[in-house]
């Protein structure tokens, strides 16, 4: 029955009166997500054009609406504070869309969230969608179909590209989660794989990785040790030169580690087929289904 977000998601939009927050709040409501409130300090008491009540604080928003999830569209200099506030207010899940939060802030936020029992997705994440149930983020809802493929990715538009091919070919998704392109993120690839392993709707996992770090290699180890779902892979950045940051703060090959070749090899060694192109994912999924 999907992971992280579903019919039971009651969402607060942090930064709802900003340009991005307002636009995406409306988009999420249109998709059917239950947006129960928004927070912008100093704007409490107003109601947005889409009829969502705005609160000054997360504490008040949660108390008044019974929200269990928040999504952060707050600008980078204030975003860490927004996540701290969400954890403190007791939501179960915070999805942080904001890009460009200093790593020095995130390394303080994430242990704090963990101690409070709050799961963080992101930052620099396109969000999480369980097609047909709820969308929390900025992805285009229209390209998704409900189904049994779980998608986990470090990227935004590349995920849309792959999801588009999956949906076009009749492979719907249980949940698609963008874990974020930063070097330090809350819920990582391995955490997501654990969640998919326990989800009965998910039969196949599509793992979309990229250069930088070694989470894909660790995922390969888990798969080797016996993972209860079939896995198809894609790794971006085969042509990325070493030492150069490829857009995402976390996408960089340093000291010869984190290359696409290493990740592809590790996955292949674990029996996972890695697609050469986004469209090829469909062929692999077809064979696995």
């Amino acid at each position: 029955m999907s992971i992280l977000v579903d019919e039971n998601t009651r969402l607060i939009v942090q930064g709802i009166t900003g340009r991005d927050g307002a636009f995406h709040a409306a988009q999420m409501i249109e998709y059917g997500t239950e947006v129960v409130g928004g927070v912008t300090p100093g704007k409490g008491g107003m109601t947005t054009d889409s009829g969502v009540p705005v609160f000054d604080t997360m504490e008040e928003a949660v108390r008044e609406t019974g929200a269990n999830t928040s999504v952060v569209y707050v600008p980078a200099p204030f975003a860490a504070d927004a996540v701290f506030e969400a954890c403190d207010a007791g939501v179960e899940l915070v999805v942080c869309i904001t890009e460009g939060i200093p790593v020095a802030d995130m390394i303080k936020v994430l242990p704090y969230a963990e101690r409070r029992g709050t799961r963080v997705v992101g930052p620099n994440s396109p969000g999480v969608i369980s097609p047909g149930s709820a969308k929390v983020g900025i992805m285009p809802g229209s390209i998704h179909r409900k189904g049994n493929v779980g998608v986990v990715s470090r990227s935004g538009t590349l995920t849309y590209e792959i999801v588009y091919h999956l949906s076009e070919n009749g492979f719907g998704q249980s949940t698609c989660i963008g874990i974020g392109g930063d070097p330090v993120v809350g819920t990582n690839l391995l955490d997501t794989m654990e969640l998919f392993a326990e989800d009965d709707q998910t039969e196949i996992v599509v793992l979309i990785g990229e250069i930088g770090g070694n989470d894909e290699e660790k995922a390969a180890e888990i798969i080797k040790g016996g993972y209860p779902r079939k896995v198809a892979g894609f790794i971006a950045g085969r042509t990325a030169p070493p030492g150069k940051r490829m857009g995402h703060a976390g996408a960089i090959v340093t000291g010869g580690s984190g290359t696409a070749a290493d990740k592809i090899k590790a996955l292949n060694d674990a029996g996972v087929r890695v697609a050469d192109t986004p469209a090829q994912i469909v062929d692999i999924v077809k064979d696995l289904a």
């Binding site: 995130m106 390394i107 971006a236």
Partner: protein
């Protein structure tokens, strides 16, 4: 963002690290006077933003001011890994008894700062890590608690048995960590930290990389940016807030989103050609952004065709198509341009493009193939 050694030394000094005095010169004629002022022997060091300066001959010891002038003359203007030396640092030399490595990075798996220390200083730490991993001690620091006395004792004890030296090393590591956190660094490294024969500890080299996301609150550091190590187009791209990396191929690409941009490069290679660049124009594909991106790509004379690959998503593709046409009108260029748009209103976008000299593609695969063909 990478900092020059001279700036990193200044930051370390400010945090109380023992850094030998130095003078930066931009004219080799000033080297003699600088050496005299500091007192010889001195080290003459090329200031370039690449590793391996020593091996390339960019770091020399001088025992007299005359010798310093002569060495500076040689180093100045030298080519180190494609970079011309334009600044030289004259630093007071320190006698070396032992060399250590100390560095702080962000550990992606524990999501916390990680301090690495090694008694094998003065060599590339990645070499030590692969050949003698037991010679590196790694200590994870909880940023909420900070660096703890027992951790400092452990690290200092890993490097030395001498009580006085250990005390100085511990103090140096603590200062290094404070500097790392204080300037939003992604890496802060002293290689080597040395012990002199008289038992004094000195940081004789300094390297700091800054987390770009922290620069908005590090105004002083941001002003230290040195653009000499990057292609001009990369400097221009940064000023336009575009993410760009120059490559050697002839198919230019403009893509929305970093992952899709990498996948586009990979696909160009997959179909037998070479990408000319990585360029992510981000979520909004306004005419201004497209124009700025085109301007950057066209600086590269190798480029023979341009592929614009946009997964529209929520953005309306007809708007993007109009933006591209508008940008194209403002450009004096005759390179073939392939445009792939998928998302809301993409059919309408294709109709708009059909009336122009732009080559429309309905999928990423088709776009890449057409762009490769056009580059031939």
């Amino acid at each position: 963002m990478k900092l020059q050694e001279v700036d990193s030394r200044g930051i370390f000094s400010g945090y109380g690290l023992p850094v030998p005095e130095s003078i930066l010169i931009t004219d080799p004629a000033e080297a003699g006077a600088a050496a005299k002022k500091l007192g010889c022997p001195v080290v003459v060091k090329a200031q370039v933003l690449v590793g391996g300066r020593g091996k390339a001959g960019g770091v020399k010891l001088a025992n007299t001011p005359e010798e310093a002038a002569e060495k500076a003359e040689k180093i100045y203007g030298m080519d180190i890994k494609g970079l011309k030396v334009q600044k030289v640092l004259i630093a007071k030399a320190v006698d070396i008894e032992r060399e250590f490595y100390v560095g702080v990075v962000i550990d992606r798996s524990s999501r916390m700062p990680l301090i690495m220390v090694s008694p094998a200083g003065g060599v590339d730490i990645e070499t030590v890590a692969s050949e003698n991993p037991e010679k590196i001690l790694k200590t994870v620091i909880d940023p909420a608690v900070g660096i703890l006395p027992f951790q400092l004792r452990g690290m200092a004890g890993f490097l030395s048995d001498d009580k006085e030296v250990k005390k100085q090393i511990a103090k140096a590591i603590s200062a290094l960590y404070q500097a790392f956190m204080g300037v939003d660094a992604s890496l802060a490294e002293i290689n080597p930290l040395v012990e002199s024969p008289d038992g004094k500890v000195w940081a004789i080299d300094a390297k700091i990389n800054i987390d770009d996301s922290g620069l908005y609150r590090q105004k002083k550091i941001a002003a230290m940016r040195d653009t000499s190590a990057e292609a001009e187009a990369e400097t221009q791209a940064r000023e336009e807030s575009l993410s760009f990396v120059k490559l050697d191929g002839n198919v230019g690409c403009i893509v929305n989103g970093a992952g899709l941009a990498m996948a586009t490069m990979d696909m160009i290679k997959h179909y037998g050609a070479e990408p000319a660049n990585f360029l992510d124009i981000g979520g909004s594909s306004s005419p201004e952004k497209v124009l700025a991106a085109l301007n950057i790509i066209l600086r590269d004379e190798n480029v023979k065709s341009i592929l614009i690959n946009i997964f529209g998503g929520i953005t309306r593709c007809d708007d993007v198509a109009n933006g591209i046409i508008e940008a194209r009108k403002k450009m004096d260029m005759d390179l073939p341009m392939v445009v792939r748009l998928t998302g809301t209103n993409s059919e309408k976008a294709m109709e708009i493009l059909a009336d122009t000299d732009l080559i429309a593609a309905s999928s990423m695969e088709e776009g890449v193939k057409k762009a490769i063909e056009a580059a031939k």
